[in-house]
Symmetry: D2
Subunit: 379 residues, 4 copies
């Protein structure tokens, strides 16, 4: 099953790390650390092998992939020697990256995006094509009645003006082109009723939102412990310090709001109540791609006795995110192949703010993922 992975934001840190890493894995120069779908549990699941993946994508900047890869090498996100060793493979992918098309109306832009997708699918003879959004986080988009109805939306797209934020326009184009869609960002993406209708009409699946790679990952693993032990969480506060392109963007108030909101849902959902506390994201340029998150949990035990827990996470965001992008592309392609349509709640394991499911405990998400993957396996 030849599987296309179309990265929107292909020249960003996550995109380039995924491209370098996929090349290295195929060349046998890297281990499969961080790749969930390489765990034994997924061996029989009928998901496309790493060798079957073909990468292309869109971006709004034209910095060469090789240059971005070298920057990531210098920053310690990927091994610098891998970047040199993979230069031929990176150059190969470079030929499949397109500038994000413009157009007079959003309908025109969508057509042009669809044309890029179709051309890639045909030229590369792909069985499935998954569009993965790894572009910069957008500001929270204003609501619009056209978001709720597909016909109204189609009409609005032909008008001038921006009825859809960029991430949703991409999802629209992907669905129209018969591609599945994964949103790795907290942007709106496919999360509009009109787009859900479209996905069902075109019989494609989609997944999202916002890759779970740090503080929220840890919270979804740890919060169930407090619930299961009947300990009362009085407050759970968090601070995230990060640099990098994504950090700069998240420091803008609009994007920050989108992100801290998706972070706060997990606790309420797992605990059944909302503990006090604030979650912050602050931009500290010099930290680069290495994020530090600190959480303080203040809780009560038997007879009200007060206790505390603190945790610090020093993670390299792109190195955590990139293998999940590959996992998601493989799983979503397999789901499309198996005829799955609409939101893939079973991929909630990978997301801060999962669509199609209310499950927020990591362990339960894991169980759901394994069951899902097993169910995809050809009989």
């Amino acid at each position: 099953m030849r599987t296309g992975v179309w990265l929107v934001g292909a020249r960003g840190s996550v995109g380039v790390t995924a491209i370098v890493g996929l090349s290295a894995l195929r060349a046998g120069l890297a281990e499969t650390i961080g790749c969930v779908t390489e765990l034994p549990h997924f061996r029989e699941a009928g998901i496309p092998p790493l060798d079957a993946l073909v990468v292309g994508g869109h971006d709004i900047v034209d910095t060469p992939l090789q240059k971005r890869a070298e920057e990531l090498g210098a920053a310690g996100v990927v091994p610098a020697d891998l970047v040199s060793a993979m230069s031929a493979e990176i150059a190969e992918v470079e030929t499949d990256i397109r500038p994000l098309p413009g157009g007079a109306t959003q309908a025109d832009i969508a057509e042009a995006v669809m044309a890029d997708l179709t051309e890639f699918r045909n030229r590369r003879a792909l069985d499935e094509l998954v569009v993965v959004n790894v572009a910069s986080t957008e500001p929270q988009a204003p609501g619009d009645p056209a978001h709720d109805d597909l016909d109204t939306l189609r009409a609005a797209l032909r008008q001038s003006g921006e009825v859809l934020p960029p991430s949703s326009l991409i999802a629209y184009a992907a669905f129209e082109a018969g591609c599945s869609f994964v949103d790795f960002t907290p942007s709106t993406g496919a999360r509009l009723p009109a787009l859900d209708s479209l996905a069902r009409e075109r019989r494609v699946p989609y997944a999202g939102s916002d890759g779970k790679t740090g503080e929220t990952l840890v919270r979804s693993a740890l919060a169930p412990m407090f619930a299961q032990r009947n300990l009362r969480v009085n407050s759970w506060s968090g601070t995230n310090l990060l640099g990098g392109g994504d950090g700069a963007r998240l420091a803008e108030p609009g994007a920050n709001a989108a992100k801290t909101q998706s972070k706060s849902k997990v606790l309420e959902s797992v605990l059944g109540y909302r503990p006090q506390g604030v979650t912050r994201i602050d931009f500290v340029e010099e930290l680069g791609d290495f994020k530090t998150a600190w959480d303080l949990i203040s809780f009560s035990g038997f007879l009200g006795t007060r206790m505390r827990m603190e945790l610090t996470w020093h993670g390299c965001d792109s190195a955590l995110a990139a293998p999940l992008v590959l996992d998601l592309a493989r799983l979503t392609a397999a789901a499309q192949h198996a005829g799955r349509v609409g939101p893939l709640g079973e991929l909630g394991f990978f997301f801060k703010d999962p669509v199609g499911t209310a499950e927020a405990s990591l362990a339960d998400q894991w169980a759901g993922l394994i069951e899902f993957a097993t169910g995809l396996a050809p009989a």
Copy 2:
């Protein structure tokens, strides 16, 4: 179902906290925080209500319960005003605490212990009696061929000398008296083939070992996250600083070895390999019952990129342990009532070093516990 809870080490911090707390819960003066079996999941499980519990026990010291309770109040382990409010109830339990009997041979001691248990059961008209070991941790006991065979053991007990460590002698006496047995400590307890035979012969269940209340609890919640995300844990090191009676005992090399060994199993079991790192327990008297544990986890992600996580746990050990003692007594009584015999692996959720199961992930233990409790429910 009137259920006896016989605490071996009843005058210790865990024992007294359980006694004060149970009284307060019954009097409606405390919430059920920390009590697992008070969660909605257990509502239909047919476990004895808190009102049905009757507490007695053994200890080797004779400090009055009230005095120990006041010390715990002054130390902030239990609210000081609860201790005054509950003095009548504490005095009532005091009448059921016995000195640990002596005897010429261990068989004689066992007889005397059995007599105490039987007298308590009869006088208090109990349907079930669960013996719970909350005594000081013993040094690791030397092996003995009599541990492997029940007949040999019975013969050896009639000789002079100590073929069994105290915790195992108590388990022996409990089984002989038809009681179930829970070992909340890392001591040997029922974990000998000869005692397992005896439990099966007497058709009683048992559970253990070593209540999971701090660092190991967190590890069992967190380690699966690393495994599920295919992240490689290079080292996981831990330091536990604690005062209190238990801290002093654990500072003795023999007991320390027993405890750090049970702590190290969870990582190996969940991850499938043993990361580097050392786990320490150090006695710092002035910290009292409030333990601080610090863990450093060094791990690798995609393409080998190195990351770290740190966590600090400031817990009040007895306040974490006491409600679990009540949970375990209730669940074990219900299991005995339902005819369960031998090790209760399904109670692994509560233990650092669970008997009767290899399951070490907290989430999987939780799922097993719920299934178990549901299965106990009367049809």
Copy 3:
């Protein structure tokens, strides 16, 4: 030397803790922990003994001191049994707390405040009277030309409207009444050219601003280490989580800005450059008076190698502040007695944002303090 301590905000946490603590120290029921001026270094300095202090004050609320003291006892800020033991002494101070006077113009209010101060000084036969501001932090005050010139200010005070923020009006009244003034808060207080002129005219000293009790204290002790070792601090970020009345006030954007600004000065001043990083104060009600501050320091060593340091401070703010209020009153009274006039830069040891000095290193502030105190000693 009978010394009056007039607390503006006497019914607040800091004020009440100081009142309870002073009583307990005198009664021999508490040790002098936290009292800087009780260290041997100050023995010869001729500062008034604790027994010579007489407390009074203003507040805008009328909650009884005893009630506030009991709340602090319940919250663990002061020992609950001390509060009962000291009730007679607390009641005695209660008779010297006055409501903050009102008036048609700020000049009228100042007159009324002066009358309260003078009445207290006469009735209690005080040799010196120190006014200490421990009232809630004000929003940053807007500038006004009258702040720069004493005559203009005097004229403006007689107009309607608020030319001075409350803290500065108090400083004005204190100086006019011949009292020295200490600002324990980040409010404007005496830090206006016109008020400095007034202090010099009246020949009284003043000190401030913003008691240094937590994160900034630690920073002023630690930052010199990086400077002296020629290590480069790339970023220094901080998060402060606190509840309590002060926390609620600081959560208001105006007050928060005043406070985080005074926090950021120490690093720049000690290091000679401003590292990246953000310092936050967030209100988490349930933490009460126990504040948690977390700092992340990212620095470079030899050949640019990158390293990190993290620290967490769990302090009880009022218990840290109250003894310093007593220290400051004693030292300022002694300085006034010794004829010192204007800003007391030598008290910078006690403040986040010291007036009258550019010294920001704790060690250098300490050396300056000792020299100052020694210099006060009668020949």
Copy 4:
């Protein structure tokens, strides 16, 4: 002033980092971060410039410097590209590294060492020669009466057997050869009465012991804060996790004891009492040269209110140590040049366990260092 720096243990991590770094500084390829004597305070002190330093040394292994440097580059201790860029300079130093000589008696070994030193001094036309011990930490040496008297020692050295541990034999040879001596390790070195006599006889200065680069550095900066604020430190516990050659050696009980002992002195000395708590050093191989130290400080404030502080230090040991080795060589050479004899207590700033001084507060050590350096300046 051409100044020789003779590194005993030149092929170790600290030695090689110093060699690579010195070359890079001279070549203008690195900044002077981490070099104390490059701070403005030392500009007039008459210490030899970096360009005047000439490095040689002894080691017991013969791994080429270049190979060790490449390993340090791969481990991220020094920038890998600097190592390639400096290969010519490293090769130049390689010609001055000698194997540690053997001999029938310790007197013979000392003679051979002296010959190496003298040959180096003459061939390189050095004005001063400083021997710096950066060899592996020795086990604590057994006492011997010959350690107390120089004549007895000289006689004993001519016998077979080892009256001196290796570090002390080196100090002996250095002094006899008219060289000054710096002990960067916790080994015995010059700290024997007989060797002190010899240093005075030969009119050379010496400094030590045990470079202060991590936890103890922070403790010496922070502990004075608690003392100055009259806060009572109830316990101060520490855990050090490190890999690397030094980590492996420190994991041996003898060396570990030597090191934890020198770590515990600073607190007692600064605070005036010894708080409870344990300090541990544990070997975790995979952490390599990057050490993590964690400290828990539990303290009481006003009226006994209990508080806590925690700190984590993630430092690269060799990158912290190497510039200090250069600083110490420069300062000691200048001291020798200025006629200073015996222990240089004023260099205590650099050491965990300083000889010739009781001063343990970093700030006071800093003040002493500046005064010392200023005093060395030619009039």
